[in-house]
């Protein structure tokens, strides 16, 4: 098994690609709570198959291909064991991701740069919005729960979250643009 490849290289692969892979897995309709599990499974399989990997290829695309197959397999599982939100949705999303190697957006470096940029952008988010994000993503609270806590309506929370996300996306795009330009 994987005895010939450089472990340092593998480390580099994981470091560069885990954020993007997790994003990719989620983008195929995997339930949020199972994203890491599935991404890890893909890395484990990749590790076990490293002997088959051509280092001239893009590792990110390769491991995304593995993840994609894992997601497809999810559709064949019985409902209790499925890690996806919906068969039909995943069917459509997987179909639209048929050529991961051609999707520049999903390249490892790109996703990692996005993740780093996002961290910086988050520093600029006002306290209230940050608290909202924290409640939603850290504490996994629903919009109605956050609404109760913040004395707002659930609809207002949803709208606010949507706006913050939109602002963050814009910020990330700008930052990546700046880095690329610089």
């Amino acid at each position: 098994m994987a005895g010939e490849f450089s472990s340092e290289k593998f480390i580099e692969y994981v470091r560069e690609n885990h954020a993007g892979l997790r994003g990719f897995v989620r983008s195929l309709g995997v339930a949020p709570m199972w994203v890491d599990d599935l991404a890890q499974e893909a890395f484990v399989i990749a590790y076990q198959r490293m002997a088959d990997f051509d280092e001239n290829r893009d590792f990110g695309a390769w491991v995304r291909g593995i993840a994609r197959n894992l997601v497809i397999n999810e559709r064949r599982k019985d409902a209790r064991r499925k890690r996806i939100l919906s068969d039909h949705l995943t069917e459509v999303l997987v179909a639209s991701s048929s050529l991961p190697e051609n999707e520049v957006e999903e390249k490892g470096d790109r996703a990692r740069a996005k993740a780093l940029a996002l961290k910086e952008c988050l520093d600029k988010v006002p306290d209230k919005s940050r608290a909202m994000l924290q409640a939603r993503y850290e504490n996994e609270q629903s919009a109605p729960d956050i609404a109760l806590q913040m004395n707002m309506s659930a609809a207002a929370i949803r709208k606010s979250l949507e706006r913050v996300r939109k602002a963050l996306r814009k910020c990330v795009q700008q930052r990546i643009g700046e880095v690329n330009a610089g």
Binding site: S7, F10, I11, E106, R165, V179
Partner: protein, 577 residues
């Protein structure tokens, strides 16, 4: 114009009926190109005809209707539908088909919208990673390394290579000597938003990892060193860089770790190889290889490998679990302590000497630097002092009292109500008698019932109070694994009376598999378990006992009966594995 319309309808009907020839189809095309509405009409008619065809092929009206609905929904999908769907998916709402106004499969005809949805999901995931500590890079890598460890360990190569995989660059920045409270979250920040190559080119700001050659296959372990972190000075998260050998499982008091020339546990309490300095408080560590250690700060220790820990200073209680294939070695100044199945107290508060007490079981100790390699086996309640100047072991009186605080965490029983005292083995506190409390002592720390040994316990029904007075039904304990027995003692107050009602509750780390409170069974079990003295239930007052539904918590309710004094004993047996 009317003629044209009639002709169009005639040609369309022939087309739908499959009767039109080439000339007629050309003519129909010309009519459509002259009027775009006709083109749409043809498409709609064909679509409907195709739906009909498929319905009949599929053989049922229901199928046809479902199919038709699906097809019509394609046409009906609007921007609001997509927006709602995106929000629903991102917010984790239900995606059951009956909660949606359209068939999800119909999305495939809208590739741009699907792409947008995928982008939003991807971004949401990145946002989650950025905001949530449980989804952070650190957490992911830790979890992945553990998983790979578990999967690869079956191949044995990780086990063989683990001790020699990761070395730290000798020039790593050393953390400041500021204390780090475990109550404060360890903060880790990634470096600036620059490309990875840019990051790597800034050696002064990042950690680096060195690997010995010929370790290429051990990626599972090396994974723990995945990330180039830019670590804030006082926090040096250990678990990212080498295998996690131990875990903080409980804390007491104000726990503060000092990151001086050493490590601190990671944000989840994981510990890897290295030196740790506990400034204050008490902590209970559990090692992956089946050992435990509780320390009272200030204390310093070094995790040297998966089965070796060196207590450098302070007070520690150690437990090596019985039944491990390989022994766990505790070292302390100049001593090696090998005691499978034993519980030891180690006192190295003095630079020149180390004291050792055996709280349970027996252990072999060896002076590391003694020319003769002096070895000695110590038994239950024995104590020695290692005089490091003279390389000599000296017998000393047994005194377990200094280990009381560390023992509270190691005892495996938590008693938050305040009416329970967890007593360190070998130390008879007077507080029980003075304060009307229940004292809990570990009688036998780790043992197994031999084939010829039988232990009869009182019959209990989980979740229901049982009276402890009078004769009770019993049953033979069938547990074959390792057990621990606790003795619960309650005695009268100063005047020999229980003021009113004494309630005591204690929760055990391990499941309770048997309780003994009837007098005959207490007496019968004394030889096997009774290391803490003979039980005395002669004057058991009115008492009730409840074992919780989860089998972990024992509640005692003792009430006075006139002037009758309350005293008694209960044995609790828990299964360790």
């Amino acid at each position: 114009m009317n003629n044209s319309k009639e002709r169009f309808e005639e040609l369309l009907a022939r087309l739908l009926d499959g009767e039109s020839d080439g000339d007629e189809r050309s003519e129909l095309a010309r009519l459509c190109s002259a009027d775009q509405k006709r083109g749409a009409e043809v498409r709609e008619a064909l679509f409907f005809a195709e739906s009909l065809r498929q319905a009949f092929i599929s053989g049922g009206k229901d199928v046809f209707e479902a199919d038709l609905t699906e097809q019509l929904n394609v046409a009906a999908l609007g921007n609001n539908d997509f927006k709602r769907l995106r929000q629903q998916v991102v917010d984790g709402g239900s995606l059951e088909q009956d909660t949606l106004s359209f068939d999800l499969r119909s999305l495939q005809d809208q590739p741009a919208e699907v792409r947008k949805l995928r982008n939003e999901l991807e971004f949401d995931e990145l946002l989650t990673q950025a905001v949530s500590t449980s989804k952070s890079e650190e957490a992911f890598v830790q979890s992945l390394s553990t998983r790979m460890w578990a999967e690869v360990e079956e191949d044995h190569f990780v086990d063989d290579l683990s001790s020699k995989i990761i070395e730290w660059d000798a020039h790593l920045p050393v953390a400041d000597a500021e204390p780090v409270s475990s109550n404060r979250e360890v903060s880790i920040s990634l470096s600036d938003t620059v490309s990875l190559t840019q990051q790597a080119a800034r050696p002064g700001k990042v950690w680096s990892i060195l690997f010995k050659p010929a370790l290429a296959a051990a990626a599972a372990v090396v994974l723990t060193g995945l990330v180039l972190w830019n670590v804030q000075p006082e926090s040096r998260p250990a678990s990212l860089f080498s295998p996690q050998w131990a875990q903080v499982v409980a804390e007491g008091g104000d726990v503060v770790w000092r990151a001086q020339e050493g490590r601190i546990p990671d944000s989840k309490g994981g510990l890897v190889k290295g030196v740790y300095h506990l400034e204050s408080g008490t902590v209970h560590l559990r090692f992956r290889e089946g050992a435990e250690m509780a320390l009272e700060g200030p204390a310093e220790f070094e995790i040297k490998g998966k089965r070796t820990v060196n207590v450098l200073s302070g007070l520690a209680v150690t437990r090596s679990n019985a039944g491990n294939k390989r022994n766990f070695i505790f070292e302390t100044k100049g001593l090696n302590l090998d005691g499978s199945g034993s519980t030891l107290g180690i006192d190295v508060r003095d630079d020149k000497e180390a004291e050792l007490v055996v709280l349970s079981g027996d252990a072999e100790i060896q002076l590391q630097d003694s020319a003769e390699g002096e070895k000695r086996r110590l038994y239950h309640f024995e104590a020695v002092r290692a005089d490091l100047d003279r390389d000599k072991l000296v017998d000393i009186p047994f005194n377990s009292r200094p280990f009381s605080k560390a023992w509270e965490l190691m005892s495996g029983v938590a008693a938050p109500t305040g009416t329970v005292e967890v007593a360190v083995p070998g130390h008879q506190s007077k507080r029980v008698a003075e304060n009307n409390r229940v004292r809990v002592t570990v009688e036998r720390d780790q043992f197994k019932l031999a084939d010829n040994e039988q232990l009869e316990v009182d019959t209990l029904s989980k979740g229901h109070f049982v009276s402890m007075n009078g004769s009770k039904n019993g049953e033979v304990l069938t547990e074959k694994g390792h057990l621990r027995s606790y003795l619960l003692e309650f005695k009268p107050g100063k005047d020999g009376k229980l003021e009113s009602t004494l309630e005591a509750s204690m929760t055990f780390d391990h499941p309770v598999v048997g309780v003994i409170f009837s007098e005959d069974r207490l007496v019968n079990s004394a030889d096997l378990l009774g290391r803490s003295g003979e039980p005395n239930n002669e004057s058991m007052a009115s008492g009730q006992l409840l074992l919780s539904d989860d089998g972990r918590t024992v509640n005692l309710l003792l009430t006075s009966e006139g002037n009758r004094p309350v005293s008694g004993t209960v044995r609790v047996l828990v299964a360790l594995n």
